[in-house]
Amino acid sequence: MSVGTESLVTVTATINGEPRTFTVPGHRTLLDALRSELGLTGTKSSCTEGECGACTVMLDGHAVNSCLVLAAEVDGHEVLTVEGVSVDGGTDLQQAFLEHGAVQCGFCIPGQVMSAEYLLSRNPDPSVQEIRDAMSGNLCRCASYNRIVEAVRQTATKRVSTRG
């Protein structure tokens, strides 16, 4: 038993574009470090076993469940959380979520936003089926699924037409 005496790890990573250094026990997850050490509570903790997607963040541009990543593993890497993608007044995607009634209790929504941004970064114009496939790791118990799909479709269409 090594509680209280386990070795601490100092992590330096780029979090939402800013260099951050923090010290955590070696077993601490990225999820807990973001929430406790860095105060980034937009990333939510729910199942803590990689099933629900509420803790989705981007690690070097890839969507990951931050509950399945050790904080120590992100040393030297880039992490993007929902706070990092949000802007005052909301992004086009976040506004689309509101227009389409996708936000109900809202607890899963930061994770949904991150998964949707990741999908759009890989596939700028996804079909409904592609959205359903890509986001199937994000549970929504309010079951706003069709609302979110509509929001992602609208955002994709607008972004594609803006880019011309």
């Binding site: 209280g4 959380t81 936000v103 109900q104 209790c105 607890f107 549970l139 118990r141 069709n146």
Partner: protein, 772 residues
Amino acid sequence: MGDALKAQEVGTLRPDGNVGTRTKRYGGLERASGAQKYAADLDFPEALQVAIVTIPVGCADILGVDTSEAEAMPGVVGVLTAADLPSPMPRFGVSHKDRPVMADGRVNFYGEPVAAVAALTQEQADAAARAVTVDYRELPGVYTLDAALAPDAHLVQDPSDPTKRAGDPLRETNVIEEQTIAWGDLTEQEAKAALVVEDSYSYPMMTQFPIEPLAVIAEPTDAGGLTVYTPVQHPYLMQRIVAGLIGKTLTQVHVIAPDPGGGFGGKQIPKYEPLMAFLALKLDRTVRLTLNLAETTTAIRRAGAKVHARTGFSAEGDILFHHVVIDYQIGAYADVAPRVMTKGSYVGGGPYRLPACRIEARAVLTNTPVSTAMRGYGAPQISWATESQITDGARRLGLDPARVRLRNLVDNGEEFVQGEFAGKADGEWKEAVVKAMELAGWDDPLPPNRGRGIAVGIKSSATSGLSQSLVRLLYDGSAIVYAGTSDMGQGARTIWAQTVADELGVPVGKVQVISGDTDLVPFDLQTSASRSTVFMGTAVLRACRDVRRQVREMYAERVGADPGDIDDEPGALLTPEGAVTLDEAARIGLGALRGEVLGQGTCRLEGRKGHPLGGDASFYEFNCTISEVELDRGTGQYVITRHVSVSDVGTELNPIQVVAQEEGGAIMGLGQADMEQLVFDEHGRLLNASAIDYRVPTYKDVPLELLTGSVENHDGPGPYGSKGMSEGPILCTGAALGAAVTAAAGVKVTDLPLTAERIWRATRAAAEGAIA
């Protein structure tokens, strides 16, 4: 009853208003950007983290609890055991005060707290909890309905304990409450029947699975009281129960309820809060308990049920009688489950014109985690049987199951529950069926291996209650509304903002909604039974009208007019000189001292003594659901190709929120119909609490086509003719899907969930029977 509420002026929609439009969710941007603070997001740097000690069986006598090793571990500040609590053990509950703060010498369900450890970090608390040694002797607990109802069954609650079931004739059994609703003569009707359908059905235990797990922070105050932070649906009930347990006044217990991240009924009644209150007081420290999803699944669930039904039909499809015996499997303590049983079984005959009906219902204690409210309450369990019976009857008579329902459905004002405590239709329910049939293309032919099923659902809403609201119209024309409803995703805050905006003529963006704080916000009974639109909505409306009345009087006095010469409408005073906007009139009336206008609104509905529901329903939720599946006969697997859900909502106050709730309820209902179930082993251990093992619908489980609709006749008792609507789509989903599977597979499955394996087995058994 509903008429009592309807008697008031409910207002009409403004053509240029916010009510009735797709106003964006209040607080939606904060939720989408991660800024919204849920309970687990609140920062308490000095708080101790708590871990709960449990034992790995569902029923055992506790012989000893040794905390010495745990207390010596790094970071541990204190341990709470039953020995630290007053004697006799404090107990709490709503109708039955039977639940101990922690296990009282005996563990009665898997997960029941035996001790709690508080330490500086969660890791330290978890490690110390593992080091607490509990010596126990396992007992032959009852984990199923059959076991609990056996003649020599272990009794979950000790019948000799005078504090619990004294004077209760059922105390020597595991039945905690029973109810029979009956009218007409079953035998006489059966003699006329051309067909009698008889079958047994089961509905498994399930869990609410809110994505936000349970979390509690208890903080001692300087005044010797407590502040409790917990994402509950009923902050005022929490306040009353905690204050009662620790012997404090309501003013000494301050409940702060951050908006829940989903409730679905699971966050109504105290669970760990009483224990946390005693722990905080013992240590005189702020203590924090944060569960994960699997731990939450162990703490809250829906009652399962077993049902036996006999239903008689005439050759033309008239339902002549319906006789149901239903046992609800509740947990080790009552919670609200007796009421789940009484409310569910009251509507057990369905919304039909029945010459004879008998519903015999029991709530049965078992050594399983405590069941509580869940969306639909006790209606989905009984509807699964009743609606499957109607489908079966229609099929055997060669009649269209939709038209059999239309033939038997009550008309508006007609009784579907007869007798002294009758239940009457309060809407044009057939319109919902017709609309659903149109959306589903009910009469369109289907390709091979497809099947379509229909069902209807009904649920009584709140029967009594008190909701109070304050509305402040500020000098600059902005407004604040105080409403104690918890916004757990149903969108209550948005509806209050829309209402205040329209009634006072304030832009919706200038309305602030305050809730979730018992020190700041006036009393509201609870957030449940889809009641809030009607009850709190009425209180908010009345508070706005109170503001308008005051503005009219102040303005008249200030300008020297006769108040009788001034009329008011939403957002304006109508004076002989012309219209004056309400905020301008308020400024004139307030004068040089500025200030604000404070309005108060109350909605009170008394119960009715002796009524099985405690009173007449303020309104009913009615829904018609049609499901369509494509079946692979070789494997029993199926795809839901189309799903239609239509509810009678009275008036859509926010159409996009209505769609979201209708779709969400339908998908939750489908999850309960085709995949969800809690599984316990022979020691009462929950085997599938994890999100890996307890499946809920994902994006990939949504029907290929999901269509929703509303019936709007502006005939509800709520503001602008509205009714509550968040539970309708879950009421009859199981029966609609079951009917679709039967239509495609040619076999009937009577147990939920409708898994491929069950369908495959039933298909194979039918084929073998045909060969034999």
